[in-house]
Protein backbone atom coordinates (compact mmCIF):
# COMPACT_ATOMS: atom_id res chain seq x y z
CA UNK A 1 0.00 0.00 0.00
CA UNK A 2 1.49 3.30 -1.10
CA UNK A 3 1.17 6.78 0.24
CA UNK A 4 -0.92 9.60 -1.24
CA UNK A 5 0.53 13.06 -0.85
CA UNK A 6 -1.24 16.22 -1.95
CA UNK A 7 0.85 19.21 -3.04
CA UNK A 8 -1.06 22.38 -2.21
CA UNK A 9 -0.57 26.08 -1.48
CA UNK A 10 -3.80 28.06 -1.57
CA UNK A 11 -2.27 30.82 -3.64
CA UNK A 12 -1.70 30.30 -7.33
CA UNK A 13 1.63 30.57 -9.07
CA UNK A 14 3.87 29.55 -6.20
CA UNK A 15 5.00 26.33 -7.85
CA UNK A 16 2.57 23.54 -6.96
CA UNK A 17 2.70 21.94 -10.37
CA UNK A 18 6.45 22.40 -10.74
CA UNK A 19 6.96 20.88 -7.31
CA UNK A 20 4.60 18.00 -8.07
CA UNK A 21 6.42 17.20 -11.29
CA UNK A 22 9.86 17.43 -9.74
CA UNK A 23 9.09 15.55 -6.55
CA UNK A 24 7.39 12.75 -8.49
CA UNK A 25 10.28 12.56 -10.94
CA UNK A 26 12.87 12.62 -8.17
CA UNK A 27 11.09 9.79 -6.40
CA UNK A 28 10.98 7.84 -9.64
CA UNK A 29 14.70 8.45 -10.11
CA UNK A 30 15.21 6.90 -6.68
CA UNK A 31 13.52 3.75 -7.93
CA UNK A 32 10.02 4.25 -6.56
CA UNK A 33 6.84 3.51 -8.44
CA UNK A 34 5.07 6.84 -8.66
CA UNK A 35 1.79 8.11 -10.07
CA UNK A 36 1.01 11.79 -10.47
CA UNK A 37 -2.62 12.87 -10.34
CA UNK A 38 -3.57 16.25 -11.76
CA UNK A 39 -6.75 17.44 -10.04
CA UNK A 40 -6.73 20.87 -11.66
CA UNK A 41 -9.66 20.04 -13.91
CA UNK A 42 -10.19 22.68 -16.58
CA UNK A 43 -6.70 24.15 -16.18
CA UNK A 44 -4.48 21.16 -16.42
CA UNK A 45 -0.76 21.87 -16.53
CA UNK A 46 1.07 18.93 -15.08
CA UNK A 47 1.06 17.11 -18.41
CA UNK A 48 2.59 20.15 -20.11
CA UNK A 49 5.34 20.54 -17.54
CA UNK A 50 6.09 16.82 -17.86
CA UNK A 51 6.00 16.98 -21.66
CA UNK A 52 3.31 14.31 -21.83
CA UNK A 53 0.48 16.39 -23.25
CA UNK A 54 0.51 14.75 -26.68
CA UNK A 55 0.12 11.27 -25.24
CA UNK A 56 -3.11 11.81 -23.31
CA UNK A 57 -6.01 9.66 -24.45
CA UNK A 58 -8.32 9.49 -21.45
CA UNK A 59 -8.37 11.64 -18.32
CA UNK A 60 -9.52 11.70 -14.70
CA UNK A 61 -13.08 12.68 -15.56
CA UNK A 62 -13.31 9.83 -18.06
CA UNK A 63 -12.32 7.42 -15.32
CA UNK A 64 -14.80 8.84 -12.83
CA UNK A 65 -17.60 8.78 -15.39
CA UNK A 66 -16.60 5.24 -16.34
CA UNK A 67 -15.81 5.89 -19.95
CA UNK A 68 -12.56 3.96 -19.44
CA UNK A 69 -10.72 1.87 -16.90
CA UNK A 70 -8.22 3.54 -14.57
CA UNK A 71 -5.21 1.79 -16.17
CA UNK A 72 -6.23 3.02 -19.59
CA UNK A 73 -6.07 6.66 -18.50
CA UNK A 74 -2.59 6.41 -16.96
CA UNK A 75 0.09 7.94 -19.17
CA UNK A 76 3.43 6.24 -18.73
CA UNK A 77 6.52 8.44 -18.79
CA UNK A 78 8.93 6.43 -20.92
CA UNK A 79 12.02 8.21 -19.61
CA UNK A 80 11.58 6.35 -16.31
CA UNK A 81 10.82 2.82 -15.30
CA UNK A 82 7.81 3.50 -13.15
CA UNK A 83 6.39 6.98 -13.50
CA UNK A 84 2.77 7.55 -14.49
CA UNK A 85 0.43 10.49 -14.88
CA UNK A 86 -3.31 10.59 -14.49
CA UNK A 87 -4.13 13.81 -16.35
CA UNK A 88 -6.99 16.17 -15.57
CA UNK A 89 -9.66 16.96 -18.14
CA UNK A 90 -9.22 20.24 -19.92
CA UNK A 91 -12.76 20.66 -21.19
CA UNK A 92 -14.78 20.19 -18.01
CA UNK A 93 -14.61 22.09 -14.73
CA UNK A 94 -13.98 21.16 -11.11
CA UNK A 95 -17.61 20.31 -10.37
CA UNK A 96 -17.39 17.39 -12.82
CA UNK A 97 -16.07 15.18 -10.02
CA UNK A 98 -16.80 14.87 -6.32
CA UNK A 99 -14.30 14.39 -3.49
CA UNK A 100 -15.63 10.85 -2.99
CA UNK A 101 -14.77 9.98 -6.61
CA UNK A 102 -11.20 11.18 -6.23
CA UNK A 103 -10.84 9.35 -2.95
CA UNK A 104 -11.89 6.07 -4.54
CA UNK A 105 -9.53 6.60 -7.42
CA UNK A 106 -6.54 7.48 -5.23
CA UNK A 107 -7.19 4.50 -2.99
CA UNK A 108 -7.09 2.34 -6.11
CA UNK A 109 -3.79 3.89 -7.26
CA UNK A 110 -2.21 3.44 -3.85
CA UNK A 111 -2.56 -0.31 -4.22
CA UNK A 112 -0.22 -0.40 -7.18
CA UNK A 113 2.14 2.54 -6.55
CA UNK A 114 4.59 3.52 -3.80
CA UNK A 115 3.64 7.17 -4.07
CA UNK A 116 0.60 8.97 -5.42
CA UNK A 117 1.45 12.65 -5.86
CA UNK A 118 -1.69 14.77 -6.13
CA UNK A 119 -1.32 18.19 -7.75
CA UNK A 120 -3.91 20.49 -6.18
CA UNK A 121 -5.48 23.47 -7.95
CA UNK A 122 -5.14 26.97 -6.51
CA UNK A 123 -7.90 28.13 -4.21
CA UNK A 124 -9.74 26.47 -1.36
CA UNK A 125 -13.01 25.58 -3.05
CA UNK A 126 -14.34 22.45 -4.68
CA UNK A 127 -11.09 21.67 -6.48
CA UNK A 128 -9.17 21.81 -3.22
CA UNK A 129 -11.63 19.48 -1.54
CA UNK A 130 -11.32 17.07 -4.45
CA UNK A 131 -7.53 17.05 -4.24
CA UNK A 132 -7.39 16.62 -0.49
CA UNK A 133 -10.04 13.90 -0.27
CA UNK A 134 -7.82 10.94 -0.99
CA UNK A 135 -4.56 12.23 0.51
CA UNK A 136 -2.82 10.75 3.54
CA UNK A 137 -0.31 13.55 3.85
CA UNK A 138 0.25 17.01 2.45
CA UNK A 139 3.09 19.21 1.31
CA UNK A 140 2.41 22.93 1.43
CA UNK A 141 4.34 25.04 -1.05
CA UNK A 142 4.91 28.72 -0.39
CA UNK A 143 7.19 31.49 -1.61
CA UNK A 144 8.83 34.13 0.58
CA UNK A 145 6.02 36.65 0.12
CA UNK A 146 3.43 37.76 2.63
CA UNK A 147 0.45 36.85 0.47
CA UNK A 148 1.75 33.34 -0.22
CA UNK A 149 2.55 32.73 3.44
CA UNK A 150 -0.87 33.99 4.48
CA UNK A 151 -2.58 31.60 2.07
CA UNK A 152 -0.34 28.73 3.11
CA UNK A 153 -1.38 29.37 6.70
CA UNK A 154 -5.04 29.27 5.70
CA UNK A 155 -4.51 26.03 3.83
CA UNK A 156 -2.71 24.43 6.78
CA UNK A 157 -5.77 25.22 8.87
CA UNK A 158 -8.09 23.70 6.28
CA UNK A 159 -5.93 20.59 5.92
CA UNK A 160 -6.06 20.13 9.66
CA UNK A 161 -9.85 20.34 9.50
CA UNK A 162 -9.96 17.64 6.83
CA UNK A 163 -7.87 15.36 8.97
CA UNK A 164 -4.42 15.93 7.48
CA UNK A 165 -2.35 17.05 10.44
CA UNK A 166 1.20 18.41 10.43
CA UNK A 167 1.84 18.85 6.70
CA UNK A 168 5.36 19.54 5.48
CA UNK A 169 6.58 22.84 4.07
CA UNK A 170 8.50 23.70 0.93
CA UNK A 171 9.70 27.25 0.49
CA UNK A 172 10.01 27.81 -3.23
CA UNK A 173 11.83 30.48 -5.18
CA UNK A 174 14.03 31.55 -2.31
CA UNK A 175 16.53 34.30 -3.02
CA UNK A 176 19.03 34.26 -0.25
CA UNK A 177 20.59 37.60 -1.07
CA UNK A 178 17.22 39.31 -0.84
CA UNK A 179 16.44 37.53 2.40
CA UNK A 180 19.72 38.68 3.84
CA UNK A 181 19.12 42.28 2.88
CA UNK A 182 15.68 42.09 4.46
CA UNK A 183 13.82 42.64 1.18
CA UNK A 184 12.27 39.20 1.34
CA UNK A 185 10.75 37.24 4.22
CA UNK A 186 13.43 35.01 5.62
CA UNK A 187 13.18 31.30 6.29
CA UNK A 188 12.99 31.61 10.07
CA UNK A 189 10.21 34.14 9.85
CA UNK A 190 8.14 31.91 7.58
CA UNK A 191 8.73 28.83 9.69
CA UNK A 192 7.86 30.59 12.92
CA UNK A 193 4.53 31.79 11.52
CA UNK A 194 3.52 28.55 9.84
CA UNK A 195 4.86 26.32 12.61
CA UNK A 196 5.17 23.15 10.52
CA UNK A 197 8.20 21.06 9.57
CA UNK A 198 10.35 22.39 6.76
CA UNK A 199 10.85 19.76 4.07
CA UNK A 200 13.07 21.84 1.84
CA UNK A 201 14.02 25.18 0.35
CA UNK A 202 14.13 25.50 -3.42
CA UNK A 203 16.24 28.37 -4.70
CA UNK A 204 14.97 30.65 -7.43
CA UNK A 205 16.52 29.16 -10.54
CA UNK A 206 16.16 29.97 -14.23
CA UNK A 207 16.61 26.31 -15.08
CA UNK A 208 13.16 25.61 -13.69
CA UNK A 209 11.53 27.84 -16.28
CA UNK A 210 13.64 26.49 -19.12
CA UNK A 211 12.95 22.92 -18.07
CA UNK A 212 9.20 23.45 -17.73
CA UNK A 213 9.04 24.94 -21.20
CA UNK A 214 11.01 22.05 -22.58
CA UNK A 215 8.67 19.56 -20.91
CA UNK A 216 11.45 18.14 -18.80
CA UNK A 217 11.31 18.36 -15.02
CA UNK A 218 14.29 20.23 -13.57
CA UNK A 219 15.43 17.26 -11.51
CA UNK A 220 16.56 15.54 -14.70
CA UNK A 221 19.32 18.12 -15.02
CA UNK A 222 21.70 17.35 -12.17
CA UNK A 223 23.56 20.64 -12.51
CA UNK A 224 20.85 23.07 -11.44
CA UNK A 225 20.47 24.15 -7.84
CA UNK A 226 16.73 23.66 -7.86
CA UNK A 227 17.27 20.15 -9.13
CA UNK A 228 19.48 19.32 -6.18
CA UNK A 229 16.93 20.84 -3.81
CA UNK A 230 14.14 18.65 -5.21
CA UNK A 231 16.33 15.56 -5.09
CA UNK A 232 17.06 16.29 -1.45
CA UNK A 233 13.37 16.75 -0.77
CA UNK A 234 12.61 13.35 -2.29
CA UNK A 235 15.33 11.74 -0.18
CA UNK A 236 13.93 13.35 2.96
CA UNK A 237 10.50 11.97 2.05
CA UNK A 238 12.06 8.51 2.02
CA UNK A 239 13.44 9.09 5.49
CA UNK A 240 17.04 10.09 4.77
CA UNK A 241 18.31 12.94 6.89
CA UNK A 242 19.75 15.30 4.33
CA UNK A 243 20.94 18.65 5.68
CA UNK A 244 19.56 21.82 4.09
CA UNK A 245 22.01 22.88 1.43
CA UNK A 246 23.90 26.12 1.66
CA UNK A 247 22.04 28.57 -0.49
CA UNK A 248 24.49 31.40 -0.37
CA UNK A 249 25.81 32.40 -3.70
CA UNK A 250 29.52 32.24 -3.85
CA UNK A 251 30.99 35.62 -4.50
CA UNK A 252 34.63 34.70 -4.31
CA UNK A 253 37.30 36.13 -6.53
CA UNK A 254 37.28 33.09 -8.81
CA UNK A 255 33.58 33.51 -9.37
CA UNK A 256 34.01 37.19 -10.18
CA UNK A 257 36.72 36.40 -12.66
CA UNK A 258 34.53 33.78 -14.28
CA UNK A 259 31.68 36.24 -14.46
CA UNK A 260 33.97 38.80 -16.02
CA UNK A 261 34.73 36.37 -18.81
CA UNK A 262 31.04 35.57 -19.19
CA UNK A 263 31.37 32.10 -17.74
CA UNK A 264 29.56 32.60 -14.41
Amino acid sequence: MGEAIVITSGKGGVGKTTSSANIATALALLGKKVCMVDTDIGLRNLDVVMGLENRIIFDLVDVVQERCRLEQALVKDKRFDELYLLPAAQTKDKQAVEPEDVKKLVTELKKTHDFVIIDCPAGIEHGFRNAVAGADKAIVVTTPENAAVRDADRVIGLLDKSGIHSPKLIINRARINMMKSGDMLDIDEICSVLAIDLLGIVPDDEHVIKAANAGEPTVMNPNSKASLAYRNIARRMLGDSVPLMALEEKNGLFRKVKKFFGMG
Partner: protein
Protein backbone atom coordinates in the same frame (compact mmCIF):
# COMPACT_ATOMS: atom_id res chain seq x y z
CA UNK B 1 -6.42 18.42 68.78
CA UNK B 2 -2.83 17.35 68.50
CA UNK B 3 -2.10 15.51 65.25
CA UNK B 4 -5.35 16.71 63.72
CA UNK B 5 -5.36 19.37 61.04
CA UNK B 6 -6.89 22.68 61.97
CA UNK B 7 -9.73 23.63 59.71
CA UNK B 8 -10.89 26.58 61.75
CA UNK B 9 -8.63 29.49 62.55
CA UNK B 10 -9.89 32.23 64.81
CA UNK B 11 -8.26 35.63 64.62
CA UNK B 12 -8.96 38.81 66.51
CA UNK B 13 -9.49 42.09 64.71
CA UNK B 14 -10.41 45.59 65.85
CA UNK B 15 -14.01 45.16 64.77
CA UNK B 16 -14.44 41.66 66.14
CA UNK B 17 -13.40 38.13 65.31
CA UNK B 18 -12.54 36.56 61.99
CA UNK B 19 -13.21 32.85 61.53
CA UNK B 20 -11.10 31.57 58.66
CA UNK B 21 -12.49 28.23 57.52
CA UNK B 22 -10.46 25.81 55.47
CA UNK B 23 -11.86 25.40 51.93
CA UNK B 24 -10.57 21.91 51.12
CA UNK B 25 -12.07 19.75 53.88
CA UNK B 26 -15.66 18.41 53.93
CA UNK B 27 -18.22 20.86 55.26
CA UNK B 28 -19.26 18.52 58.09
CA UNK B 29 -15.70 18.53 59.43
CA UNK B 30 -15.90 22.29 59.69
CA UNK B 31 -19.06 22.17 61.79
CA UNK B 32 -17.60 19.48 64.02
CA UNK B 33 -14.47 21.45 64.67
CA UNK B 34 -16.40 24.68 65.23
CA UNK B 35 -18.54 22.91 67.77
CA UNK B 36 -15.46 21.55 69.52
CA UNK B 37 -13.66 24.88 69.57
CA UNK B 38 -16.59 26.90 70.82
CA UNK B 39 -17.67 24.39 73.43
CA UNK B 40 -14.31 23.12 74.66
CA UNK B 41 -11.02 24.68 73.66
CA UNK B 42 -12.07 28.29 73.15
CA UNK B 43 -14.88 28.41 75.68
CA UNK B 44 -13.68 31.68 77.11
CA UNK B 45 -14.61 33.42 73.85
CA UNK B 46 -18.22 33.05 74.85
CA UNK B 47 -17.80 34.93 78.07
CA UNK B 48 -17.60 38.63 77.44
CA UNK B 49 -19.14 41.53 75.61
CA UNK B 50 -20.95 41.17 72.29
CA UNK B 51 -18.53 40.22 69.53
CA UNK B 52 -19.02 40.54 65.80
CA UNK B 53 -17.87 37.60 63.73
CA UNK B 54 -16.78 37.63 60.08
CA UNK B 55 -16.62 34.22 58.46
CA UNK B 56 -14.18 33.70 55.57
CA UNK B 57 -14.82 30.62 53.49
CA UNK B 58 -11.84 30.79 51.11
CA UNK B 59 -12.73 29.29 47.75
CA UNK B 60 -15.56 27.19 49.14
CA UNK B 61 -19.02 27.78 47.67
CA UNK B 62 -21.83 27.20 50.17
CA UNK B 63 -25.59 26.78 49.86
CA UNK B 64 -28.08 28.89 51.84
CA UNK B 65 -28.72 25.93 54.16
CA UNK B 66 -25.05 25.51 54.91
CA UNK B 67 -24.80 29.22 55.55
CA UNK B 68 -27.63 29.01 58.05
CA UNK B 69 -26.14 26.09 59.89
CA UNK B 70 -22.89 28.01 60.18
CA UNK B 71 -24.77 30.99 61.50
CA UNK B 72 -26.68 28.90 64.03
CA UNK B 73 -23.49 27.28 65.19
CA UNK B 74 -21.72 30.57 65.81
CA UNK B 75 -24.63 32.72 67.00
CA UNK B 76 -24.63 31.83 70.64
CA UNK B 77 -24.51 34.02 73.69
CA UNK B 78 -22.34 36.98 72.84
CA UNK B 79 -21.25 36.07 69.29
CA UNK B 80 -23.05 37.68 66.36
CA UNK B 81 -22.31 36.72 62.77
CA UNK B 82 -21.84 39.81 60.64
CA UNK B 83 -20.80 38.33 57.32
CA UNK B 84 -20.10 35.04 55.60
CA UNK B 85 -18.17 35.32 52.37
CA UNK B 86 -16.10 33.41 49.84
CA UNK B 87 -12.95 34.75 48.19
CA UNK B 88 -13.74 36.93 45.18
CA UNK B 89 -12.37 34.56 42.53
CA UNK B 90 -14.80 31.89 43.62
CA UNK B 91 -17.63 34.17 42.59
CA UNK B 92 -16.74 33.94 38.93
CA UNK B 93 -14.99 37.28 38.81
CA UNK B 94 -11.82 36.00 37.20
CA UNK B 95 -12.86 32.81 35.52
CA UNK B 96 -10.57 32.31 32.55
CA UNK B 97 -10.93 29.74 29.89
CA UNK B 98 -7.56 28.31 28.93
CA UNK B 99 -6.95 27.04 25.41
CA UNK B 100 -3.90 26.12 23.37
CA UNK B 101 -3.20 25.77 19.65
CA UNK B 102 -2.60 27.97 16.63
CA UNK B 103 -5.22 30.32 15.22
CA UNK B 104 -4.35 30.32 11.53
CA UNK B 105 -5.36 32.61 8.70
CA UNK B 106 -9.12 32.46 8.14
CA UNK B 107 -9.83 30.86 11.51
CA UNK B 108 -11.83 32.51 14.27
CA UNK B 109 -11.66 31.56 17.93
CA UNK B 110 -14.57 32.88 19.97
CA UNK B 111 -14.89 32.85 23.72
CA UNK B 112 -17.71 34.26 25.80
CA UNK B 113 -15.61 35.20 28.76
CA UNK B 114 -11.96 35.92 29.33
CA UNK B 115 -9.47 33.71 27.55
CA UNK B 116 -5.91 32.63 28.07
CA UNK B 117 -4.64 31.38 24.74
CA UNK B 118 -1.37 29.46 24.67
CA UNK B 119 0.03 29.60 21.14
CA UNK B 120 0.20 31.95 18.18
CA UNK B 121 -2.47 33.94 16.41
CA UNK B 122 -1.28 34.25 12.81
CA UNK B 123 -1.99 37.10 10.39
CA UNK B 124 -5.53 36.65 9.09
CA UNK B 125 -6.56 34.76 12.23
CA UNK B 126 -8.96 36.25 14.76
CA UNK B 127 -9.76 35.84 18.44
CA UNK B 128 -12.94 37.36 19.83
CA UNK B 129 -13.63 37.34 23.58
CA UNK B 130 -16.29 38.86 25.76
CA UNK B 131 -13.71 39.56 28.45
CA UNK B 132 -9.96 39.90 28.56
CA UNK B 133 -7.54 38.15 26.25
CA UNK B 134 -4.12 36.92 27.23
CA UNK B 135 -2.03 35.36 24.49
CA UNK B 136 0.99 33.38 25.64
CA UNK B 137 2.57 33.44 22.21
CA UNK B 138 2.70 35.77 19.24
CA UNK B 139 -0.36 37.84 18.44
CA UNK B 140 0.06 38.67 14.74
CA UNK B 141 -3.60 38.54 13.71
CA UNK B 142 -6.69 40.37 14.89
CA UNK B 143 -7.90 40.41 18.48
CA UNK B 144 -11.20 41.70 19.80
CA UNK B 145 -11.61 41.82 23.56
CA UNK B 146 -14.72 42.94 25.41
CA UNK B 147 -16.69 42.23 22.27
CA UNK B 148 -19.99 42.50 24.11
CA UNK B 149 -19.17 46.09 25.00
CA UNK B 150 -16.83 45.78 27.96
CA UNK B 151 -14.51 48.76 27.66
CA UNK B 152 -12.53 47.60 30.68
CA UNK B 153 -11.22 44.59 28.76
CA UNK B 154 -7.52 44.23 27.93
CA UNK B 155 -5.51 42.40 25.29
CA UNK B 156 -2.12 41.07 26.31
CA UNK B 157 0.40 39.06 24.33
CA UNK B 158 3.94 37.79 24.78
CA UNK B 159 4.65 39.20 21.36
CA UNK B 160 2.18 41.93 20.48
CA UNK B 161 2.38 42.61 16.77
CA UNK B 162 -1.25 42.47 15.70
CA UNK B 163 -2.86 43.30 12.39
CA UNK B 164 -5.63 45.03 14.28
CA UNK B 165 -6.87 45.36 17.84
CA UNK B 166 -10.40 45.96 19.03
CA UNK B 167 -11.64 46.61 22.53
CA UNK B 168 -15.41 46.93 22.82
CA UNK B 169 -16.27 49.27 19.92
CA UNK B 170 -12.85 50.82 19.45
CA UNK B 171 -10.55 49.77 16.62
CA UNK B 172 -6.83 50.38 16.48
CA UNK B 173 -4.06 49.54 14.11
CA UNK B 174 -0.63 49.16 15.63
CA UNK B 175 1.61 52.11 14.91
CA UNK B 176 5.24 51.22 14.34
CA UNK B 177 6.40 52.67 17.62
CA UNK B 178 4.49 49.95 19.46
CA UNK B 179 7.18 47.50 18.77
CA UNK B 180 9.32 47.51 21.84
CA UNK B 181 12.34 45.44 21.08
CA UNK B 182 13.08 44.20 24.56
CA UNK B 183 11.61 40.82 25.22
CA UNK B 184 8.68 42.22 27.11
CA UNK B 185 5.03 41.27 27.25
CA UNK B 186 2.60 44.04 26.38
CA UNK B 187 -1.10 44.64 26.72
CA UNK B 188 -3.57 47.02 25.14
CA UNK B 189 -6.30 48.85 27.02
CA UNK B 190 -8.66 51.77 26.57
CA UNK B 191 -7.76 55.12 28.04
CA UNK B 192 -10.50 57.68 27.53
CA UNK B 193 -11.24 57.35 23.83
CA UNK B 194 -7.90 55.91 22.77
CA UNK B 195 -6.20 52.60 22.87
CA UNK B 196 -2.95 52.58 24.78
CA UNK B 197 -0.16 50.04 25.04
CA UNK B 198 1.64 49.31 28.26
CA UNK B 199 4.03 46.74 29.67
CA UNK B 200 2.32 43.79 31.31
CA UNK B 201 3.77 44.84 34.68
CA UNK B 202 1.29 47.69 34.81
CA UNK B 203 -1.79 45.53 34.26
CA UNK B 204 -2.70 45.24 37.93
CA UNK B 205 -2.54 48.97 38.41
CA UNK B 206 -4.55 49.91 35.34
CA UNK B 207 -7.10 47.11 35.52
CA UNK B 208 -7.23 46.05 39.17
CA UNK B 209 -10.51 44.22 38.59
CA UNK B 210 -9.25 42.04 35.78
CA UNK B 211 -7.47 39.65 38.06
CA UNK B 212 -6.95 38.77 41.65
CA UNK B 213 -4.02 40.83 42.75
CA UNK B 214 -1.03 39.65 44.67
CA UNK B 215 0.05 42.31 47.13
CA UNK B 216 2.54 40.47 49.27
CA UNK B 217 2.22 40.16 53.01
Amino acid sequence: MAGKQHHVTIKGRKDGLVFVLDDSCPFSDLLEELEYKLEKSHQNLLNGPIMHVHVKLGKRQVTEEEKQSLQQMINRRNLVVQSIESAPDAQGKTQHRVMAGIVRSGQVLESEGSLIFIGDVNPGGTIVTGGDLFVLGALRGTAHAGATGNREAVIAASYLKPTQLRIAGAISRPPDEWEIHDATMLFAYMKDEHMEIEKITHLFRLRPNAVEIFRGE
